[in-house]
């Protein structure tokens, strides 16, 4: 089984889907890099290298570098989607959502519903997210709760290279608008990734570990934080189930509830801000549906309700880490004693 990086897995997904379906195009800023300049073509292949090589393979009509005009090209991607293409548009940093959110949440997300079921909008918007790279407040946010909140959007957050490729292929083949979020610190992580094309269904959580004492739910880069915590807890005799929902919308509530039924305890690790965040949503859901099986309060490990700071010590304190998860699990294990 070949081992590939998260970045390479995404690149492969794009290559394979663009080869399979001529209606698939990619557009965004510097997705090749060097357009109009005198030097190297495809100089960047995307700000994080995810789209490298696509220009050579598919040409400039299908691999489009755009001016820095998110509202125009994200809106154009929406318009193209509803008229017969399958565009994959990139917002370089999810933080730039602000300048094009209307096209996403008022246009693309709502065409199908407000046009009475006749529109099909097979749009994918890829965006990088996440703190930890010392990129400060406007280049480090998570923001997936904002998308999850919008009916009509699907929200995908892969945590491994295997998941990244399968979920991106699934997203491109999906006929609804999909926001595909890539944690920027995961691009260099590696894992087994088959050469074949494959898909992973949405609303299908990955159960990474099974244990009977506590259920830990985590997405994106927080999955590895949860797994580190689970390994450490195992040495104290506390066995944790770790679930990665993989898609915030649609959400695999069944698996979460199934696992909480078995353990009676839930801790959620999430790097989005706490107010109206992803963890808050899952906590409310479980509290409503599984109240009687809970042995203790549902605990959320999230950043504080602040922007992302710049100084390394502050940013490290901002992000959830395994120690905080372990402390939370111990706390809920001790509840009632």
């Amino acid at each position: 089984m070949p081992v590939k990086t998260f970045r390479a897995a995404l690149n492969e997904a794009l290559h394979q889907e663009m080869a399979r379906d001529p209606r698939t195009i990619v557009l965004g800023e510097d997705i090749t890099g060097g357009k109009g300049a005198t030097g190297e073509k495809d100089a960047w292949g995307g700000a994080f290298g995810v789209t490298k090589g696509l220009l050579d393979a598919f040409g400039e009509k299908r691999v489009i570098d755009t001016p820095i005009t998110e509202s125009a090209f994200v809106g154009a991607a929406a318009g193209a989607a509803v008229t017969g293409l399958r565009p994959v548009a990139e917002i370089m940093f999810v933080d730039f959502l602000g300048v094009c959110f209307d096209q996403i949440f008022n246009q693309a997300a709502k065409f199908r519903y407000m046009f009475g079921g006749k529109a099909v909008t097979p749009l994918v918007i890829r965006a990088t997210f996440g703190a930890g790279s010392r990129s400060a407040s406007q280049h480090s946010q998570a923001l997936y709760p904002l998308f999850t909140h919008i009916p009509g959007l699907k929200v995908v957050i892969p945590s491994t290279p295997y998941d990244a490729k399968g979920l991106l292929i699934e997203a491109i083949r999906d006929d609804d608008p999909v926001i595909f979020l890539e944690n920027k610190l995961l691009y260099d992580t590696t894992g087994d990734v088959p050469d074949d094309s494959y898909t992973i269904p949405f609303a299908e959580a990955a159960v990474l570990r099974e244990g009977s004492d506590v259920t830990i739910v985590a997405v994106g880069r927080m999955v590895s934080v949860a797994m580190d915590a689970a390994k450490a807890l195992a040495t104290e005799g506390i066995e944790a189930t770790v679930i990665d929902p993989r898609t915030a919308s649609p959400l695999d509530t069944e698996t979460i509830l199934e696992m909480v039924e078995e353990t009676g305890r839930l801790v959620i690790v999430d790097e989005s801000n706490p107010r109206c965040g992803f963890a808050a949503d899952i906590a409310a859901l479980v509290a409503e549906e599984a109240f009687d099986v809970l042995k203790g309060p549902i605990l959320k490990i999230t950043p504080p309700h602040t922007p992302v700071p710049y100084a390394p010590n502050l940013e490290d304190a901002y992000l959830p880490d395994a120690a905080r998860v372990i402390a939370a699990v111990r706390r809920v294990m001790a509840h009632g004693e």
């Binding site: 088959p194 074949d196 094309s197 494959y198 898909t199 269904p201 299908e204 959580a205 990955a206 195992a234």
Partner: protein, 373 residues
């Protein structure tokens, strides 16, 4: 002279790095026979029993039930009555301080190029003996033989293959029984194995029978484990549920039907099957394969008893006596030259559910086949 033997956590399958001791099956101080099952171990893939490597007294249960032990780590100590506790302590400390090797020598499966396309093969063993080719069943993969490959590899090459559209083998456009048999010929050619012992489970058994009837010169002997092709009846629920399942819960339910204890199906096993099935082209290939041997109205459509009767070489038939997929009664009325063994308490996967028993049957079959071949 004291004689102490370590009981290590075994390695089952390529990806296993640790196991959990579920429980001891004998108390400390009990006399155990070599081969006797003395501990129940669970991995992320499956649960199975660990056998005593030697006869003696189980002097120390080092691991406690529920403990996670790395592969190679110390589960217990077998010795004689004379060994002192102090010597046992010393042995245990010394053993525990040896870090478990990450077993880089364990072979990994690899894609073998054949004239019809790549086939994933796990190759073990070696030597001059006639090779054994292991053929899994519908929806399975070479991991079905994870508890068997090591036992067979001591004196001959062992090839566990993923049939087209299964495991890591790409799907093929043509995937009915004859096509699967052709794939096996192709991979045997690629492995320079013109004549092999065929061990086939379920659909793999039907593939083995097809080979035996179309190209008997390539089959040195047959071991059929709950094979397709010897009767009409087959549990449609498994077939349709497996084909339809593209998510964890329904797949777990479908796979549970294969075992006498459905809890034997772990998340890892389910994930492995799903990963294979989610590849492009695989669901279509699996549907075509199914149509090749099953009709919802009439059940199994391939009549392979004549193939069995017509085969000259040694034949062993193994069946779990509580097989809920294909009834063990299909083993009735076979030619007297076929050796039929029922495995008590096993469902449709006796080679996993009762691995030690099946390994003994397999080893005996090959010894006998070598002598007569």
């Amino acid at each position: 002279m004291t004689d102490l033997h370590a009981l290590p956590m075994p390695k089952w399958g390529m990806t296993m790095t640790e196991g959990t001791l579920v429980d001891w099956l004998v108390p400390e101080g009990a006399l155990v026979e070599q081969g006797q099952e003395i501990a129940e171990v669970e991995t992320t893939k499956i649960a199975n029993a660990v056998e005593a490597p030697v006869s003696g007294i189980l002097r120390r249960q080092v691991a406690v039930p529920g403990a996670s032990v790395p592969v190679g780590g110390l589960l217990g100590v077998i010795g004689d009555a004379e060994t002192t506790d102090a010597e046992i302590e010393a042995f245990v400390s010394a053993r525990v301080s040896i870090s478990a090797e990450s077993d880089d020598e364990t072979p990994a499966p690899r894609l073998v190029e054949t004239v019809g396309g790549p086939i994933n093969v796990l190759s073990l063993g070696g030597g001059a003996g006639i090779p054994v080719v292991l053929l899994h069943g519908y929806g399975g993969d070479l991991g079905s033989w994870m508890f068997n490959v090591d036992a067979l590899a001591s004196d001959r090459p062992v090839y566990a293959i993923d049939l087209p559209g299964h495991g890591a083998s790409p799907p093929r456009a043509a995937s009915e029984l004859a096509d699967l048999a052709k794939a096996v010929f192709q991979v045997c050619d690629a492995l320079s194995a013109p004549r092999v012992h065929l061990v086939g489970h379920s659909l793999g058994g039907a593939v083995a029978l097809t080979i035996a009837s179309t190209k008997p010169e390539r089959a040195a002997s047959l071991v059929l484990v709950a094979p397709v092709g010897l009767g009409r009846e087959i549990e449609a629920e498994y077939l349709t549920a497996f084909l339809a399942a593209d998510r964890r819960r329904p797949m777990k339910q479908a796979l549970g039907l294969l075992f006498s204890d459905p809890d034997a199906v772990s998340s890892d096993m389910v994930e492995g099957v799903l990963r294979s099935k989610r590849r492009d082209g695989v669901p279509q290939a699996l549907a075509a394969t199914l149509e090749g041997f099953f009709d919802p109205a009439s059940g199994q459509t391939q009549e392979l008893r004549p193939a069995l009767s017509g085969f000259d070489g040694p034949v062993t038939v193994i069946w779990g006596d509580v097989d809920g997929i294909i009834p063990p009664a299909h083993a009735d009325g076979l030619p007297k030259t076929s050796e039929v063994h029922l495995v008590p308490g096993a469902g449709h996967m006796p080679m996993m559910e009762a691995a030690s028993a099946v390994n003994r049957l397999l080893t005996a079959h090959f010894s006998s086949a070598d002598r007569s071949g």
